[in-house]
């Protein structure tokens, strides 16, 4: 039962975040790329004011999987780096914290591009 409730909160949080983004896409002329960047910055700011931790404790992947979570991870890396090793920590923190996801995204995109052809090009 407890697990079901936590899944429900995760579902609702993730659902509501993308729902708001979808409304912005349909109702305004803001491009998806700008919406992504906006949500990313929002996540970083929420982490900076220590609010993100509470959201994460309650909603779990519902807030960490949307791009706001990526912003929060980067900011958390910077903050923890600043506390641990000062100046150098600020520089190494953000990308270290995001390194797993970034590496998978880059390596995977590289090999997918080698293996598969872009479908839109086949139409020509």
């Amino acid at each position: 039962m407890e697990i079901f409730l936590s899944f429900l909160y995760t579902f609702l949080a993730g659902g509501v975040i993308v729902l708001l983004a979808q409304i912005l896409i349909v109702k305004t002329k803001i491009t998806p790329a700008r919406i992504l960047v906006g949500l990313l910055v929002l996540g970083a700011i929420l982490e900076a004011v220590t609010a993100f931790k509470y959201l994460e404790d309650f909603f779990g992947s519902g807030v960490t999987i949307p791009i706001v979570g990526f912003g929060a991870v980067l900011a958390r890396g910077a903050i923890e780096g600043a506390r641990a090793t000062g100046f150098l920590g600020v520089l190494t923190g953000p990308l270290t914290a995001a390194s797993a996801g970034l590496s998978v995204a880059i390596v995977s995109a590289f090999f997918m591009a080698l293996i598969f052809k872009a479908r839109t090009k086949n139409l020509k």
Binding site: G62, I65, V73, A78, A100, I115
Partner: protein, 149 residues
């Protein structure tokens, strides 16, 4: 006269503009976006069950990496595009969208070669996310450092 023509033309394109109806699109975005998050949560719980020593940070990295790889693979085989057409923000706001952007851009660049095609084009859409994310978080880190928070 010219102005009037312009206005007529603007009205004309407005009429023809593709419109997405709001309700079904936000419903699909909500359902698919929510489902992706729950899938990640379930995967994280399973990982913790298999390796109980994982930290919450490790779990977050595993969830994100798995979704990123899956989205990249689905983009490669052409399934992601179809899903994305229905889900809209439901697939591109979660981390899957970031992965789709790098993989799709890399595939688009393939015809221009490996170095300047695949590698350089890979970040055409995802680049801003990495740049802004790094810049903003580094600034936040310096604020913490300066004010000793």
């Amino acid at each position: 006269m010219n102005k009037q023509k312009n206005q007529e033309y603007l009205d004309f394109i407005k009429e023809r503009e593709p419109t997405t109806s709001l309700f079904p699109s936000i419903l699909w975005a909500f359902l698919i976006g929510g489902a992706i998050c729950v899938g990640a949560e379930a995967l994280g719980m399973w990982a913790l069950h298999l390796w109980p020593t994982l930290t919450p940070k490790d779990i977050g990295a595993i969830e994100a990496s798995a979704l990123i790889f899956l989205a990249s693979l689905l983009t490669g085989i052409g399934v992601f595009d179809k899903l994305g057409k229905v889900a809209g923000a439901g697939t591109f706001v979660p981390i899957t969208g970031f992965s789709n952007a790098t993989t799709a851009s890399a595939m688009d660049g393939k015809s221009e070669g490996i170095v300047f095609g695949v590698c350089a084009k890979m970040f055409a859409i995802a680049g801003p996310v990495i740049v802004i994310g790094t810049v903003v978080s580094t600034l936040i880190g310096f604020v913490y450092l300066i004010f000793r928070l």
